[in-house]
């Protein structure tokens, strides 16, 4: 069970959170302009990184805020968390 540092509430048990997958996949502003391939890229294609990945979490049973996390998926080590809209730290 991870110990997750919610950027708003502080350290909480993993059971208070829900995972939201890869971060910084921006929803296209003009979907209608996209080809089927481009849309599929947004819809389904994922980096699924082994290593340091940027991902979304939601403190669903706490402040209900979404935030970003930098976690190494090869050892589950959480490097840092940051709020939505904040610049991702450079690896």
């Amino acid at each position: 069970m991870f110990l997750i540092n919610c950027p708003y509430c502080g350290e909480r048990d993993q059971s208070e959170f829900s995972a939201g997958g890869e971060a910084h996949i921006v929803r296209p502003k003009q979907p209608t302009e996209l080809s089927d391939d481009q849309w599929a890229e947004f819809l389904f294609m994922r980096k699924n990184i082994k290593g340091v990945q940027f991902e979304r979490w939601n403190h669903i049973h706490g402040c209900r805020k979404w935030f970003n996390m930098v976690r190494d998926t090869s050892n589950d080590k959480i490097h840092t968390v940051y709020k939505m809209g904040e610049k991702p730290p450079i690896k």
């Binding site: 991870f2 993993q14 389904f44 294609m45 994922r46 699924n48 082994k50 991902e55 998926t73």
Partner: protein, 417 residues
């Protein structure tokens, strides 16, 4: 085949204290070049090599495995085998596999202990009933043996299930596929390895793929920890690590690799002699020949390559087990482990060519790949050998995620694998 296995060979070897058994497979160094290379020495990969050699006469091929064969999900799953899937495409794929399972021990001369003790899926609410009946009707019309059981029949088939109407989510019925069952996971990998090796396939363990060499739109070979190996055809069967291999050629896949956990109890005398799965009350259980209760837990929602999951998932699963089998409360968990499952958005696999010539992917089996091992190997071999999918895996192409023509076992009648 080099020394055939049988009770007689056992007796014969007993006289020499079993000191004359030959290796089940060689341990060769990689050649400079192969006609095809399979990346991934799990059940699917080894089966692919086996059928490439056996049915497509491709003998100059290799399976490269970064660890030891059968060490990934093949050796970590709960070995449930069934083919009662909803959609025609899935039913075709999984029943093709089931048919091969039925003769596999003989085909491989290796006892994979395929045990057709039936798989039952339980319904706990009205929508479960609709979904399972829908599936049962579809199965029947697809020629797959599946029947609907009412609560009494469920109880009769597996008397230890708590079918009391007073539990939180009472058992309202279920479906049963009698031809379904379990098999011995290690034996599948080892049997295919031995069979493939006997036909000349090189099985190269402890050989990690570091890169894939391309020439324009076609592959030329792989960079490995044992050096460069030339080839024109690469079949990737890397399960949880599929995306890692894909990244080497800048291919993105619609996959997420998540932790899936399982556990076994201490061995006890026979107490449950079928496989019972429940989706709404998330629990599957069967009993191994050794006597251990084999219990499959769920996946975690986050990506992880650690082969560890969160304890809450295990607790949640056992909670469901005790709801359906309160008699197991004093049983003890002996061992718990995790695997990495690569999951597609529609919970169906990809067995497909790619836009790169000579590069083929077999992945996305999620939590349900073991049951398909022989079929998956056979169809993937066909796809690689002919550079064309077999009609049974045509629908499982990568392009469906662009067209939207998914094989949605997930959305529709989502049933646990």
């Amino acid at each position: 085949m080099k020394n055939k296995y049988s009770i007689f060979s056992l007796i014969k070897n007993a006289f020499s204290y079993h000191e004359n058994w030959q290796r089940a497979w060689r341990d060769p160094e990689p050649k400079k070049e192969y006609d095809a290379i399979i990346i991934g020495g799990g059940g699917h990969g080894l089966a692919t090599a086996f059928y490439l050699a056996k049915k497509h006469n491709m003998k100059n091929i290799a399976v490269v495995e970064k660890g030891w064969i059968g060490g990934g999900n093949t050796g970590r799953n709960t070995t449930i085998i069934r083919s009662n899937y909803l959609w025609d495409a899935s039913a075709g794929l999984y029943d093709h596999a089931l048919k091969i399972w039925e003769g596999l021990s003989q085909e491989l001369n290796y006892n994979v202990m395929f045990s057709q003790r039936g798989v039952m899926n339980l319904a706990h609410n009205l929508q479960d009933i609709r979904d399972l009946k829908r599936r049962t009707h579809a199965n029947r019309l697809n020629g797959i043996d599946a029947v609907w059981l009412n609560t009494e029949e469920v109880k009769k088939f597996c008397p230890i299930i708590n079918t009391s109407p007073n539990i939180r989510y009472p058992v309202l019925g279920g479906t049963l596929q009698r031809r379904a069952g379990t098999a011995r996971h290690d034996a599948v990998a080892w049997g295919y390895a031995r069979g493939a090796d006997a036909m000349g396939v090189d099985i190269i363990q402890n050989c990690e793929v570091k890169g894939i060499k391309r020439n324009g739109d076609s592959v030329e070979g792989i960079e490995t920890t044992k050096g460069f190996i030339k080839t024109k055809k690469i079949g990737v069967v890397a399960a949880g690590h599929s995306s890692v291999i894909a990244k080497m050629v800048d291919v993105k896949l619609p996959l997420e690799s998540k932790p899936l956990q399982a556990l076994v109890s201490e061995p006890v005398k026979p107490i449950i002699d079928t496989v019972v799965m429940s989706n709404a009350v998330h629990a599957y259980v069967s009993q191994s020949d050794k006597g251990e209760l084999v219990i499959g837990a769920g996946t975690d929602a986050y990506i992880s390559y650690t082969q560890r999951g969160s304890h809450d998932v295990v607790e949640g699963t056992l909670k469901a087990i005790l709801e359906l089998y309160p008699i197991f409360s004093r049983m003890k968990m002996l061992r718990q482990w995790g695997g990495i499952v690569d999951i597609c958005p529609d919970a169906s696999p990809i067995i497909s060519k790619t836009h790169i010539k000579g590069l083929y992917f077999n992945c996305g089996w999620g939590t349900g790949g073991f049951k398909a091992t022989p079929g998956s190997g056979d169809l993937f071999a066909h796809t690689i050998a002919n550079d064309e999918p077999h009609k049974l895996n045509a629908d499982f192409n990568i392009n469906r995620f662009v067209s939207g023509d998914l094989v949605d076992e997930h959305g529709a009648a989502a049933v646990a694998h």
